[in-house]
């Protein structure tokens, strides 16, 4: 097989990094929206993250997962934005998610979605981030620890507390519906 089409090794390496980054943009946007709870701020977050990643890609050194590195950068950027704006935690506006649903869901499932979204919004930031990384983005616990820059034990603790809080919130949210069905 000829290597002519691939160009020089160095250039190819840089393009490969960009290619991997490009594949992660939808996931970064999704995580950013879950963190920022606002589509415009989420895209600003992702743009800042991508710019930082390109500027600092020499710091990656192929150690660890590029995906973890990107998500870590996004998370750091979110923390920076959060401090800069010093805004109060606001729940994700239901229309933010609803407007982005491309497939109509049945009513029962729609209510379930609303509940989990609202429950997630009520979690403390550190627990929410840990749960989202694992449950939504499929990170392993050691990868999540790398993204959040905390020990694995801390991730485990945040997950445990976050999961339990979600169970409690879910149970309380389901209670009225169960009672309605009993009637």
């Amino acid at each position: 097989m000829s290597g002519v089409a691939f160009g020089g090794h160095k250039e190819k390496s840089v393009d490969d990094v960009k290619w991997v980054i490009a594949r992660q943009i939808p996931h970064l946007r999704r995580f950013a929206l879950a963190l920022a709870k606002n589509p415009d701020q989420a895209d600003d977050l992702v743009q800042d993250c991508l710019e930082r990643a390109l500027k600092k890609r020499h710091l990656w050194h192929h150690r660890g997962s590029l995906r973890s590195w990107l998500f870590s950068m996004l998370y750091r950027t979110h923390i920076d934005h959060h401090r800069a704006h010093r805004r109060r935690d606001l729940p994700t506006a239901p229309e933010v998610i609803n407007a982005r649903q491309t497939q109509p869901a049945n009513q029962e499932h729609h209510v379930e979605c609303r509940n989990i979204g609202e429950a997630l919004d009520r979690l403390p930031e550190d627990q929410r981030s840990a749960v989202l990384l694992v449950a939504l983005e499929g990170f392993t616990y050691d990868e999540a620890a790398e993204v959040l820059k905390v020990p694995i034990g801390t991730v485990r603790s945040r997950l445990s507390r976050g999961r339990q809080a979600l169970r409690d919130l879910r149970a309380s949210a389901m209670q009225p519906r169960i009672l309605r069905r009993v009637k």
């Binding site: 960009k18 980054i21 490009a22 943009i25 939808p26 996931h27 946007r29 999704r30 929206l33 879950a34 415009d40 895209d43 600003d44 992702v46 743009q47 991508l50 710019e51 390109l54 920076d80 934005h81 401090r83 800069a84 704006h85 010093r86 805004r87 998610i97 982005r100 649903q101 491309t102 497939q103 869901a105 499932h109 379930e112 979605c113 509940n115 989990i116 979204g117 997630l120 749960v131 989202l132 694992v134 449950a135 939504l136 499929g138 392993t140 616990y141 485990r156 997950l159 445990s160 999961r163 979600l166 169970r167 879910r170």
Partner: protein, 309 residues
């Protein structure tokens, strides 16, 4: 001799529910054996799995959305485009300012000429801010004034005004420069916080009109505050939505006030065409240092230009 299995812990159950034991067949089998014997653990795992399903369903459709062009453009290393919302909001600010100034309420200015001066100043400040935000070079005033922008300003206003200290609010002074045409320049002081929030503070001498209060123009991620204080006009532009814009404007005004009290007051009328000679200022300052500190002169204290809200 066979190895005793490690006891099943919560993290095993979480990992099982999160699908992280697929590659660890032995541990997965131990967890499944445990689940078959413990109904409460089985219920826990079922709930965690349901949480995961709900979370993925909640955000799942976002993955299929087309990626906005400005995000993919970043990877193509294209020249920075003014795609940030903050930049489009500067345009919105310009419209706000235009509406404000054409409405005639700007700081209660007296007379058409004075009104034009302040609105022009704030609009020019917004333009310089915009140029800095997109990385474009701003027209710098030439000559020696480039070196000492505050020195030039102090010469014009006959005060020893230092850059306001905003460190207690988390902002450090990172740049100062003189911008604009030779015959009507302004000073820009740039402050940044640890999280890269930037304050552009523009100052220019002013000689016309009286004013009170702080004018405001806000867009989502840009806040502008502008006011007159003694011989200076100020425009403060923050490139982030911040509920603290009013607080920061107040901090700047207080810092300027402290500087004035510390350094005495001008003893002569201000004129745009007759800056105080450097030697005279030095002499005045020497006298001020030698004499006991006196209260500010009545004419300065009583000046309506200093009675700002």
């Amino acid at each position: 001799m066979t190895r005793r299995p490690e006891p099943i812990q919560e993290i095993d159950l979480l990992a099982y529910a999160d699908g992280l034991l697929e590659a660890d067949v032995a541990r997965k089998a131990e967890v499944e054996r445990y689940l078959s014997e413990h109904a409460d653990a089985e219920e826990f795992v079922t709930e965690i799995s349901a949480q995961n399903d709900d979370i993925r369903a909640h955000y799942g459709s976002l993955l299929s959305e087309p990626v906005p062009e400005h995000l993919t453009a970043v990877l193509r290393s294209e020249p920075a485009q003014p795609v940030r919302r903050v930049l489009s909001q500067v345009a919105a600010l310009a419209a706000l300012l235009l509406a404000a100034t054409s409405g005639g309420w700007l700081l209660g200015q007296k007379g058409q000429d004075a009104q034009w001066h302040l609105s022009d100043f704030v609009e020019r400040a917004a333009t310089f801010h915009h140029a800095a935000a997109i990385g474009a070079a701003s027209p710098a005033a030439g000559g020696d004034r480039m070196l000492q922008p505050l020195g030039w300003l102090n010469q014009r206003i006959a005060l020893e005004l230092a850059a306001p200290d905003l460190t207690t609010d988390g902002f450090n002074l990172v740049a100062k420069e003189l911008l604009g045409p030779e015959d009507d320049p302004m000073v820009r002081l740039v402050y940044q916080s640890g999280d890269s929030t930037t304050i552009n503070l523009f100052l220019r001498p002013r000689w016309e009109g009286a004013g009170s209060g702080v004018g405001k123009a806000d867009a989502e991620d840009v806040a502008v505050r502008y006011w007159l204080d003694g011989p200076l006009a100020f425009a403060m532009i923050i490139d982030a939505a911040t509920p603290e814009a009013d607080h920061l404007a107040r901090a700047v005004r207080e810092a300027v006030g402290r500087a004035r009290l510390n350094d005495g007051v001008p003893t002569m009328a201000l004129s745009p065409v007759s800056p105080v000679p450097a030697q005279q200022r030095t002499d005045d300052r020497q006298k001020s240092l030698q004499a006991p500190r006196a209260a500010p002169t009545p004419n300065m204290q009583d000046s309506p230009q200093l009675r700002l809200n």
